[in-house]
């Protein structure tokens, strides 16, 4: 353990406090009996129970989960296949750079540009078919689009670190391409795929901007619900909902750490 200058300690602790102060505030007021104001009127879990009565919230939670699961599954498959295609085949330098750039676009650009492009694109697609009304389908499409890039990048870096040896050894033993892929590459790649999937899943759960621009009346997700609610009136129920979401996030983070540390 190194000795740290006290100023550094102070600044570090200040920064952590700064990060957590708002969240702690929300948690405290989610159990305060008072409907408004800052007077402490006693501890209560009432607001939490109210949440489960609220159909909209339950539906938003369901939508959020459904959206995340479906889009993650599809994006992980597409992204993994894409990464293998990019990394395990000899492409010309130009091809490689172009593909690389396209892959990085969703990661680097502000997501509002992607959202605007999707709104316009879906608006035009609606003339062709009416399934492109704002709704779950549009949201899934939007989410998959940026998730593919993240998954592909994560899986590709794992592929790079795997190196050639194992596969070359496999070939020496006359393995066919398909066998190689299924029995050797994919299992070795699994930690990377899982990491990519977890990343994609969390990105989808947290997403606000893309969802905001592509959501329909029946496909409100939790972030959208909270946003609309706080613009109108901040209530302790929202605090309760938010605290719950944060707690679930904590569980998810700890869970992911356990899983990746094993892998």
């Amino acid at each position: 353990m190194r000795r740290v200058h006290p100023i550094i300690t102070v600044m570090a602790l200040f920064t952590m406090g700064f990060l957590y102060l708002p969240l702690v505030g929300v948690a405290i007021f989610s159990v305060n009996q008072a409907r408004r104001g800052f007077v402490w009127r006693g501890f209560t879990l009432d607001w939490y129970f109210r949440l489960f009565d609220n159909e909209f919230i339950l539906e938003s939670a369901w939508n959020t989960l459904l959206l995340a699961v479906i889009s993650t599954l599809i994006a992980t498959v597409l992204g993994t296949v894409l990464a293998i295609g990019l990394e395990r085949f000899p492409w010309s330098r130009r091809m490689n750079t172009t593909l690389d750039v396209i892959l990085h676009i969703p990661v680097v650009i502000p997501d509002i540009i992607l959202a605007a492009a999707l709104v316009v694109a879906f608006g035009l697609l609606r003339y062709i078919s009416s399934i492109f009304e704002p709704g779950l389908l549009n949201m899934i499409i939007g989410h998959i689009t940026f998730q593919i890039a993240f998954v592909a990048l994560v899986v590709r870096s794992r592929l790079v670190s795997l190196g050639r040896d194992i596969e070359e050894a496999g070939r020496d033993l006359f393995a066919s391409s398909w066998y190689l892929l299924r029995r050797i590459t994919l299992p070795l790649l699994l930690p990377g795929i899982v990491a990519g999937a977890m990343l994609a899943f969390t990105l989808s759960l947290d997403d606000f901007v893309i969802s905001f621009f592509t959501a329909g009346p029946e496909s409100v997700t939790l972030p959208l619900y909270i946003y609309a609610a706080v613009r109108r009136d901040v209530t302790p129920e929202i605090h309760a909902l938010s605290t719950l979401v944060v707690l679930i996030t904590v569980v998810a983070v700890l869970g992911t750490e356990r899983l990746t540390r094993r892998g």
């Binding site: 920064t15 708002p22 929300v26 296949v81 492009a117 689009t145 070359e168």
Partner: protein, 301 residues
């Protein structure tokens, strides 16, 4: 006779490899083509269209939107939008700067923790990182409320009227932005600081008497990879942010993100919204170019 080659121990022809490779690439790339590249092109085209009297878009092409963006509106030369673009750059820059300044001590502190402690602190940083941005932003409503000491101090000092909350205003927006992006800088930076070669730092400390020089000569260069990733992951998204200015800026402190969102919402002027998005895209490209020039071999992930 087609030339054979050995690829990953596999004896095959180039054509066969290409065919196989394309098979792998097909699905993913097709998706990205249809839902990323094509919409991008459509957006560019739409930016030249106009808004109808009632419809949000009519196929009436002109440079009208770009002229308006550059300030040539019906009301004379009003560079309002350029001003907003500029303000977005400034906000993104300051957010990044403050995040970096706060991240270094934080990372040093975490690195200095013994064994298990590091994981604990890292987890503590990751949790807000994964928490939903709407929640993290509106949570500031509570901290900045009139009853709490922060707002009371500000009204005492005359910055706000008495009894008013400490939002919406520029300060609240900065608070929100920094608290949002700090983990984006801290986490990649930590990856670099963890690999820091402290012997070099000690050597520098022997050589230089000034702490600042020790930092710039020994620490900064080594942490550059992580720092660069953190900076670009903060600066570019910060420019296009709209949730934070919307909730904490209350339309008093508008950024490019809000402007675009307004065009696709209440103002129903899709072409103008597309044009502004193009403007933001240009800024993004410029930032990325500068980043690419400055950095050396850096992996994104």
């Amino acid at each position: 006779m087609t030339r054979l080659l050995v690829w990953y121990g596999h004896l095959t022809t180039r054509r066969s490899l290409t065919r196989q490779g394309l098979l792998f690439l097909a699905s993913g790339m097709l998706w990205l083509m249809i839902f990323l590249v094509l919409p991008g092109l459509v957006l560019t085209i739409v930016s030249f269209a106009t808004r109808g009297a009632y419809a949000p878009m009519e196929w009436d092409f002109s440079l009208e939107n770009y002229k308006r963006l550059l300030g040539f509106s019906l009301f004379g030369w009003t560079p309002d939008y350029l001003f907003i673009l500029w303000r977005s750059i400034v906000v993104a820059f300051i957010t990044t700067l403050v995040s970096v300044i706060l991240s270094y001590p934080l990372c040093f502190y975490i690195v200095a923790r013994p064994g298990r402690g590091r994981y604990l602190w890292l987890t503590l940083v990751i949790i807000p990182f994964w928490t939903n941005m709407v929640i993290r932003t509106y949570a500031w409503f509570l901290i900045l409320a009139p009853e709490l000491p922060f707002a009371k101090l500000a009204s005492f000092l005359g910055f706000i009227p008495p009894g008013a909350p400490l939002y919406p205003n520029a300060f609240a927006v900065y608070l929100g932005m920094v608290s949002m992006f700090l983990p984006f800088v801290a986490l990649p930076l930590y990856a670099s600081i963890e690999r820091l070669d402290w012997t070099l730092v000690e050597a520098a400390q022997d050589l230089y008497s000034s702490r600042v020089r020790v930092f710039t000569q020994a620490i900064l260069p080594q942490t550059l990879p992580g720092l660069s990733v953190g900076v670009i992951l903060t600066f570019v998204p910060a420019m296009g942010m709209f949730v934070v200015p919307d909730l904490l800026g209350g339309a008093k402190y508008m950024l490019v993100g809000n402007l675009i969102q307004q065009q696709f919402g209440a103002s129903r002027d899709w072409p103008f919204g597309a044009a502004i998005s193009m403007g933001l895209m240009v800024l993004t490209m410029i930032s990325l170019q500068l980043y690419r020039r400055r950095s050396k071999e850096i992996e994104f992930v």
